[in-house]
């Protein structure tokens, strides 16, 4: 009898899961937020009762769920929880993955807040109606070119792009250190440059778009054709160019640059180059998803984040101070490079031109990356 019971238990354990899933859903389909997070709810309500003056959102909303680009932001989220009592759960993901996933989820997004990632994805998301409008007082202080006119997305800083160069290989091949974008098309660098596929790397998409804007359509495409002659293949991961340059797999990588990268110069025999003929950049977005279970918490976060003291928190986490560009009146922060060295970009074109540019790009590079469209 005992054995029968044990067997039944194990069977029901197997099917109980499926069954519970079924009932759980029915509950949550009726009332958008209650059931699934119930286990987390007590902890979050306990947290909110501790919080003093802040308006704590209803505990039934559960924790604030965030998709972000790096686990480093945990420090920031912890501070948010400390200040407001709202628990934060986060996950890091590339912006392309986020966009696809949220699109597929059809109005029931996995998260409430989207923190970081190339702005083109945010623009696309706004177009697809995935983002929620957030109006708050601090929005007026932000530089208008780095936020959405309708307050669907904001920026938390800029990703700036340059080169990382492996000195050993350069010496081995008797090559000069490239100083400008134009240097890169020198045939001497053939097969020694790595760039990510702009379709998956917001950073490298910024390079393409910015150079096209700076040089003009015709000269711009001519430039990329010449560059293409020097590049063997376009990597499928955004991190590849810098990683493979450090590892000595390639001499020059086109990559984002920040203080953490600069630190590499101490540990590895590499040099960072901020191109003298202009630094392409792309803003990093912040936005609230439409239809999330805790949109109130997400809005609360945005309000909180754009307070000066909290904005300053992100500088060590991001290893850069470009947040000063986003909020010019941010006190006690000085930009470590002159704003003038950035390329002149019309960000409004980033989203709208994306598919046309990538299409043309793919035709140009041929079989070096068969990702087309």
């Amino acid at each position: 009898m005992k054995r029968l019971l044990a067997f039944l238990l194990s069977i029901t354990a197997a099917f109980g899961l499926a069954a519970c899933g079924g009932t759980g859903n029915n509950a949550s389909s009726g009332e958008a937020s209650s059931a699934p997070q119930s286990s987390e709810a007590p902890s979050s309500s306990a947290g909110s009762s501790e919080a003093s003056g802040e308006v704590a959102p209803a505990a039934s909303n559960g924790p604030l769920k965030v998709v972000t680009t790096s686990d480093a932001y945990q420090v920031l989220f912890d501070k948010f929880t400390e200040d407001t009592g709202i628990q934060v759960e986060y996950l890091s993901m590339s912006s392309g993955e986020v966009l696809s996933k949220v699109k597929a989820e059809g109005g029931a997004p996995m998260a409430d807040l989207w923190f970081g990632g190339g702005i083109d994805a945010f623009m696309q998301a706004k177009e697809d109606g995935l983002l929620e409008q957030v109006d708050f007082d601090g929005a007026a202080d932000l530089a208008p070119e780095y936020k959405d006119a309708d307050n669907h997305w904001f920026s938390k800083g800029l990703t700036v792009v340059g080169f990382i160069v492996n000195n050993d290989i350069l010496a081995e091949k008797n090559l000069e250190l490239p100083k400008t974008w134009d240097d890169l098309i020198n045939p001497a660098y053939k097969s020694e440059i790595l760039m990510s596929n702009p379709a998956i790397s917001g950073t490298n998409y910024a390079v393409v778009n910015a150079i096209l804007q700076t040089k003009g359509e015709e000269a711009g495409w001519k430039y990329f054709e010449d560059l293409n002659a020097n590049i063997d293949y376009y990597s499928k991961r955004g991190k590849d160019p810098s990683e493979k340059t450090v590892a000595g797999e390639i001499a020059i990588g086109i990559t984002y640059l920040d203080k953490a990268m600069e630190k590499l110069q101490e540990e590895q025999n590499v040099t960072l180059v901020y191109p003298e003929d202009g630094i392409p950049y792309v803003p990093e977005g912040v936005a609230v998803f439409k239809g999330g279970t805790n949109a109130d918490g997400a809005k609360e976060f945005i309000k909180w984040f754009y307070q000066d003291e909290n904005l300053r928190e992100i500088i060590p986490l991001d290893n850069k101070d470009t947040v000063k560009i986003v909020k010019p009146n941010l006190e006690n922060v000085e930009l470590s490079f002159p704003v003038e060295s950035l390329m002149k970009e019309d960000l409004s074109l980033f989203g709208s031109q994306r598919s046309a540019i990538l299409d043309k790009w793919n035709t140009m590079i041929g079989d070096k990356a068969e990702t087309d469209e």
Partner: protein, 550 residues
């Protein structure tokens, strides 16, 4: 009086157990329909309904413009499958005929290589054989370009070996010993015996290895993504379509394209299996009491091949463990605990959650798969062949595809599962279902039908036949299923990327994340943790089950 009472008990019991039996069957069939067929149909629909209208544009475009991708995929799949088949045969033969002590060691190593976290082996390959690779550059002074189809084929061949070798060893252990004795008796040398008797006997099983590896290669996206260079194949391209363009229709269509060769291969596989490949032979089988030493050129060849495999594996795992404790500064390795500091940032709950999920997946998935296999093999159930076919489909689909299918299928009521832990667990269970059912089928073919009839004859209801007779004799299959389910739940990343949600991170996702943000050391450390935990759980369970058998 007593007699009447007895009868009453048995009548009630009969109804109860018949109902239970029917209930189990209903749950099995509907689960297969809901959690495999339905998501797949969602993918199909997604590839055909573009902006609300029926269209074949994605397919025609794929054939017109991306034929190269498909041919590249097939090319790599052929080579990887062949390579892995040959290597696996060499490894399996060497282990099978090895002296007892060596055998244990080789088996242990093989078990370890079963646990292979994604990406890190490809990264290790670059560390070892890249332009600045430890072996190619530092040891041999070469600077070769490791990116391209060669690298993919090499890595895939190696990584498919463990499973293939285990399968072949299973078949080898069933080869009738007297055939080998007869061959020797008739004057054949060990080499000739190997070539003329043993290899022909395991040839069908080798072909099965080939087919299974072929399908695995088609759906592998991690390896080509990291070391493919400019050589493109379909599976990573699907991933790029999703993350680069969020073009779900095209990604779905590409998945369907991958499915075609996989299906053709599968039909071959079924035909092979039907020829009772794995049925028991009547002769004396099992451990070789008599001594049979491999000798001669054949042995030399086998030794070289399996040494190649073990050597590569040791290097690979060595570099993972070394990577976990070192930091490369100016091209030199330094001992460092820095990655442990980094790891501290991750919630320890991530690791615990992974283990809990994996245990649930292993337990529930194995029991589910075994039950399903039993009903398919031994009962006349409705739509038997169709069910079997559907239950095998997840094996052929790239993980990312199965993940997207789940999102599409379960993002709305009545079955809204997105954002729950359940969707991750269910996805893992059903992705591995084919392996569990196939293992169980093989084991079931060893249990004679008369044994079940005997139990029924003694008064056992269908339910009791399963509980008392079939399951106790499937311990081995359970063990294999459990280990496979647990291991893949701990190490497979494909579908999880799209199903995991904030607050429910698992270790393999953290690994994926670390790989993507270029933290190779951290990735190595997480991988090392995953390997150790998985090995411990697998070994522990093996111990428990083996002891039970005494």
């Amino acid at each position: 009086m007593n007699k009447r009472n007895k009868k009453w008990v048995s009548v009630v019991g009969t109804h109860f157990y018949n109902l239970l039996d029917f209930g189990i069957l209903a749950v099995l069939l509907s689960a297969v329909a809901v959690f495999i067929l339905y998501p797949l149909l969602c993918i199909v629909k997604n590839s055909l309904w573009i902006d609300g209208a029926f269209s074949l544009q994605e397919y025609s475009r794929l054939f017109l413009k991306n034929g190269r991708l498909l041919s590249n995929s097939l090319f790599v799949a052929c080579l990887s499958a062949a390579g892995s088949m040959v290597l696996a045969a060499a490894v399996a033969l060497k282990v099978h005929f090895a002296p007892k002590k060596v055998k244990g060691l080789l088996m242990g190593l093989l078990m370890m290589t079963m646990v292979s976290p994604p990406f890190v082996s490809a990264l290790a390959y670059i560390q070892l054989f890249g332009r600045r690779g430890i072996i190619t550059y530092r040891l041999l002074g070469l600077s070769i370009n490791p990116y391209g189809w060669g690298g993919i084929v090499a890595m895939q061949s190696l990584s498919f070996v463990p499973l293939n070798a285990l399968l072949l060893m299973g078949v080898l252990s069933k080869v009738d010993q007297s055939l080998i004795h007869a061959s020797r008796d008739l004057g054949a040398s060990p080499s000739h015996t190997l070539w003329d008797v043993i290899l022909p006997l395991i040839r069908p099983a080798m072909l099965v290895c080939f087919l299974l590896s072929f399908i695995r290669s088609l759906s592998d996206f991690g390896t080509p993504m990291i070391i493919g260079g400019r050589f493109n194949v379909l599976a990573p391209e699907i991933y790029l379509q999703i993350i680069g363009y969020s073009n779900l229709p095209r990604a779905s269509a590409m998945n369907m394209i991958i499915l075609v060769p996989a299906l053709i291969i599968f039909v071959f596989y079924r035909l092979l299996m039907r020829n009772s490949l794995f049925s028991a032979s009547d002769g004396k089988t099992g451990e070789f009491q008599s001594v049979f030493h491999l000798k001669g050129i054949a042995n030399l060849l086998l030794t070289i091949l399996s040494a190649l495999f073990y050597g590569m594996m040791l290097l690979q795992y060595g570099s993972i463990f070394v990577g976990a404790f070192t930091k490369s500064i100016r091209g030199k390795l330094h001992f460092s605990l820095e990655h442990f500091e980094q790891l501290r940032m991750y919630n320890s709950s991530t690791l615990v959650r992974s283990i809990v999920y994996a245990l649930i997946v292993a337990m529930a998935g194995t029991i589910f798969g075994m039950l399903l296999s039993y009903y398919i093999e031994r009962r006349r159930i409705p739509l038997r062949n169709f069910t079997d076919f559907v239950a095998t489909l997840p094996y052929m689909l790239p993980g990312t595809c199965f993940g997207i299918g789940y999102i599409l299928a379960f993002n709305h009521p009545p079955l809204k599962l997105t954002g729950t832990a359940l969707i991750v667990i269910l996805n893992m269970i059903f992705k591995q279902l084919p392996t569990t059912t196939k293992t169980t089928s093989a084991a079931l073919s060893q249990i004679s039908v008369t044994m079940e009839q005997a139990a029924q004859d003694l008064g056992a209801q269908k339910f009791h036949v399963i509980k008392d007779i079939v399951f106790p004799n499937l311990k081995n299959a359970f063990l294999v299923g459990f280990i496979n389910n647990f291991t893949s739940a701990m190490t497979t990343v494909g579908a999880v990327i799209f199903l995991i949600h904030p607050g429910k991170k698992i270790a393999v996702f953290a690994l994926f994340d670390a790989v993507n943000s270029g933290e190779y050391g951290l990735a190595s450390l997480i991988a090392a943790f995953i390997i150790i935990i998985t090995l411990l759980v697998n070994l522990g369970l093996s111990r428990i089950i083996m002891r039970g058998r005494r």
